[in-house]
Symmetry: C2
Subunit: 160 residues, 2 copies
């Protein structure tokens, strides 16, 4: 293992992140975050204009991006090389929660996450990579801490 | 009140939402969801290329979009008019969780959400709007269910 012992840092490292939204009508929102902007909308099937991905799709994309960042960060820590990181996230929602027609959670009944990557790292390094990613990824942990049944699968390709 | 009694719908209305991500190197992820695409990246201060908003910013934008959708949906149900819906979301993260340098949650220590809108609706209608939004917004409930201290403030402008 190339992992180094971690010394607990006693000093909080608090960072604020901000996004603002302005309704542009018919279930669409123009979002700004720092110097970036994107449109959150709903498909026509849900009454919107389909001008952009919907809130749940952005959240799943956030999960994909977050998992990727943490994989690459931890791989560097461990001194291993990972290539071709892909993430596929699907969330299942019972729309009765959003619609207010039944007493069910409005968010995920289940989330499946498939991580695909290629690496020549040893099995124990790979196990450590996975453990650290699941412990340290902010968005993954948010979904898990909300009590969501989140099923992750790792599809690791080995050099032939 | 213009609210109508709700009949509980016994039939689940399950819907799947999907986003896929492909690493493009240096902590950036190209995300696709249906026919939409967006780039999730990290700022240079966090080691990235700053090609797009970061995962936490997309998540907060998802919250903004989701709250807006539910406000507009519920306003229609209640037969009230709301205008100029704005949402400001800020999340505070202790970066030691992501960095793995202390045993703290990698996600939010706190989220503040400010909702600004204009309406001439009666006070009881406004209270009902707020209650339904907080009960039915998927992303708001995901964050709350994760045990996050989420503080929401409504700044309602009245016709003069």
């Amino acid at each position: 293992m190339t992992a180094t012992a971690t010394t607990t840092d006693p000093t909080p490292r608090l960072a604020d992140f901000t996004a603002t939204g302005a309704s542009t009508g018919q279930l669409s929102t123009a979002v700004e975050a720092r110097h970036f902007s994107f449109v959150v909308a709903e498909p026509e099937s849900l009454g919107g204009t389909d001008e952009g991905a919907n809130p749940i799709e952005y959240l799943l994309g956030s999960l994909n991006g977050c998992v990727t960042v943490v994989i690459e960060t931890v791989a560097t820590e461990l001194g291993i090389t990972v290539e071709g990181v892909r993430t596929d996230a699907t969330g299942t929602i019972d729309l009765r929660g959003f619609a207010g027609t039944a007493d069910v959670s409005p968010h995920f009944q289940q989330v499946t996450l498939t991580v695909t990557l290629a690496t020549a790292a040893a099995e124990d390094e790979l196990a450590e990579l996975r453990a650290r990613v699941l412990r340290r990824c902010p968005v993954f942990n948010l979904i898990r801490d909300a009590g969501v049944d989140i099923r992750e699968t790792w599809d690791v390709r080995r050099p032939s």
